[in-house]
Every structure is written in structure tokens, then in C-alpha cells.
């Protein structure tokens, strides 16, 4: 499996990396985000939204599970933490195959619903501000995209 790794030293740097990624994304792209509480999943998602041209405040979707935003492309922000142990399908297919970009936090809780072609991202805490990000591209397109992002 292809793997790309990058280190960031601050939330700002993590956000800037995500913003750059956001600029490269296209309709129907699905990204998954894994990482502990406080790892920076929402920080990453906010950067991504900025890169997608979303101007509204992007805040945590933990409570409502899915939040939708308008940008250069529609942006679907999901936090499926609360779907642990539940088999519910909240119409994921329509989002994944839709016109927008979907980011799924805590994606392993809906493993069975995820599309095969996706960009899997893991954020690990190194110290208070520093993070290491692992990118696992699950398609040729995402491999190219990762190379472009990290070039």
C-alpha cells in the first residue's frame, strides 16, 4: 500500500496543508480522517473547507453527524463517532457519489459503507502542537494527488 508521511509543527501548518489539499480536490472525492480526540481532525477539515472555497464557519459536526457547506464544490463534513455499534446508513452513498467532496471523521465506524477509492488520512499527535500525518491513497488518482500535494 502506498503511503505518504508529512510532519507539521503547528495547527496553522496542519490547516495550511489541508487547505492546499482542498484546492486539488474534485467532485466525488472522499477522504477519511482518523485520529484521537484533539488530534486535529476539525482543524484539518476547516483547512480543507477553506481550500474548497467555503466561507461559512465550519465547526464540529459531532452532534448532527453531517454538516453541508457551499464552496467551489459542495463540502460534506461528517463525524460518525456516534454511529459506533450502529448499523445505520444515513444515505452515505448519495454523499459519496455526489457532486461534492466528503470528509469523514472516525470513518472506521462506517467501514462497510466507505467507497473503495478514497484518500485515507491518519493524524497522530507528536507533542502539544506537532503532528504527523499519514496519507494512504486508495486509487491512482489519489496517489497522483498526494505526490502533487507533498512535492
Amino acid at each position: 500500500m502506498e503511503k505518504f508521511t508529512i510532519h507539521t509543527s503547528s495547527p496553522e501548518e496542519t490547516g495550511a496543508l489541508a487547505e492546499k489539499l482542498g484546492q486539488l480536490l474534485g467532485a466525488g472525492d472522499v477522504l477519511t480522517l482518523e485520529g484521537d480526540l484533539g488530534a486535529g481532525k476539525t482543524t484539518f477539515s476547516k483547512g480543507l473547507a477553506k481550500g474548497l472555497g467555503v466561507t461559512r464557519v465550519v465547526n464540529s459536526p459531532t452532534f448532527t453527524i453531517i454538516k453541508e457547506y457551499k464552496g467551489r464544490l459542495p463540502f460534506y463534513h461528517m463525524d460518525v463517532y456516534r454511529l459506533e455499534d450502529s448499523d445505520e446508513d444515513l444515505g452515505f452513498e448519495e454523499y459519496f457519489a455526489g457532486e461534492g467532496v466528503t470528509v469523514v471523521e472516525w470513518a472506521h465506524f462506517i467501514e462497510d459503507h466507505l467507497p473503495a477509492e478514497r484518500l485515507q488520512i491518519e493524524i497522530r499527535r507528536e507533542d502539544e502542537d506537532a503532528r504527523v500525518l499519514h496519507f494512504y491513497p486508495k486509487s491512482e488518482r489519489f496517489i497522483t494527488l498526494c505526490k502533487e500535494l507533498l512535492a
Partner: protein
Amino acid sequence: MEKDEIILAIETSCDETAVAIIKNGTEMLANIVASQIESHKRFGGVVPEVASRHHVEQVTVVIEEALVTAGLTMEEITAIAVTEGPGLVGALLIGVNAAKALAFAHDLPLVPVHHIAGHIYANRLVTEMHFPLLALVVSGGHTELVYMKEHGSFEVIGETRDDAAGEAYDKVARTLNMPYPGGPHIDRLAQAGQPSIKLPRAWLEPDSYDFSFSGLKSAVINTVHNAAQRGEELAPEDLAASFQASVVEVLVEKTARAARAYDVKQVLVAGGVAANQGLRSALEARFQNEEVPLVIPPLSLCTDNAAMIGAAGSIAYRKGTRADWALNGVPGLDLEAQ
């Protein structure tokens, strides 16, 4: 004499199946809430599927109970009000469809209500509203300062940029291995502790009424983590008290500042986190020195209920707001577009 306006209101946006009957906008004839918190405890959060199933099982029973409590029949109802959003889509749909069925069967007007407008209007069941006013809305999914220049007009002047206050409570509770819902546990623990641990306050830009609780959440996690690495154990009471002190200080200070800047006649508190003792007493203490009156509804009207939907629904009904049979649950419904 004019005929009384009797609204039957349904609220199923999250984990409470609630039905209320409200007379002339302010008088509660019935206020029934069937909570699901027990069945969600083991999941550490609201599970949408479980929530929807409970709503289906309970909604007709709760409607019946509300009518019996009020001593009324459907023939005496003026209109049906229902929460359109925001909330969990599967949960909202149950209430919306129950409301549509009732309205259709009895040929009654159907009035859609925004959940947060409902929380704010819970205050009208306690005291008359005076405009312009400022509402501090703090709940599981929301932390907002809302300016209202008149009935039915909502301007969000500040909101959270990351976690809602309630979310921050639940996430910190998860870090401290406490059961769901985390808020009441932290509140209780905090009463027994000292705010002795240094945690940040997110003031953001000097002129901003926005909130941010994500940095605080990370700081709590870092503090626990660093203490564990040093082989120390922090008193959970002190950690809870310190966390709560940070949340409360920012909420209270920004509310007081906005109330002055907007020169409001009343400050209302709304939402489930308004049940928090630490927040209530800090707000009361702070507003003792302010000229503007502070209104905090009783606990039973702070958490999700349908009486508040009936109170907001009454205003919307009088303004002529109506939904047709295409009404749907809207998980991300915008308050300002109301």
C-alpha cells in the same frame, strides 16, 4: 371574546420524544417528555438509529398523553407546530411526519419551527420578551449569541468556530472516562473541586463574539497526558472545576459584553447547557451588577421539550408561517433564514 389559540407542538430533533399543548402562546396545558437517555448511555452518545426507533414507538403515545393531560380533543386544537430542524435527520422525520399526519387528518394549519428559536422562546413561558434582546444559546450542538430586534427575527452575532460548549463537555468527559451525557457529571464534579489547574480561555479577536472550545479540549487532554507521563494523577474534581471555569468565564464575559454593545433590554439564556449550575450561578452573579435583566428558564424548559416549540410556534402561527405537505426534516436548518 376571541377564541383561544391552542397549539399542539411536537419535538423529536434528538433523543427526547416530546409533545406539548400551549394556550395563547404562553400557557402550558401539557408538556410531556419521553427521554431516551438511559438507552443511549451505553453507546456514549446519541445513536441516530436508536433515537429514530424510539421516536416511532413513542410519538403517538406521547401525543395521546398530552391530549389527556390537557383534557382536550383534537377538535379543540388550532394548529400543529413541529421542529423542522436542525437535528438528526431520522429523528426529525418522525416528528415531521406525525405532525403532517395530524394536520392532514384534522385539517389544521402546519407550522414549522426552528429548534433553536424554540429554545429561545422557552423564555416566553416564564416571562414576556422585551426587544431588542440577546439570547445566549448553549446546548449539545450549539453555542451562539443571537440578537433579536423583534419577534421572529434572529441575527447570529457570535457562534462557535469548532466545538459547541456541550460537545466540549461530552468530549472532556470521554477523556475522563465518564458516562454519557458528560455535562451533568462534570458540573457535579466541578462543584467538589477547585479551579486550580491553569487552562486557556479563548477570547479570539477583541471585537469577536465567536467562541472556540477546541483549544480548551486539547489543553485538558494535554494536561492529563503530561501528568500521566510524570506519573502524577490529577484530581478529576479539580480538572472538571478548571475546565468548567474556563468555559463559563468566556460564555459569561462575551454575553455581558454583547449585551452592552447592542444595548439590549433583556438577556435570555437557552439550551440544555443552561441547566449547568456553574454557568447559572456565574451568569446570575455577573448580571447582578448590570442594568439589563437576565432570564434563565427552569431546568425542565432548558433541555429539549415541546413546550418551547409551541411557544415559538404560536408566534410563527400569528405571523402566518405555514408549511405544506412537502415539509421535511432539515438537519442543517439555518436560524437566520427564519
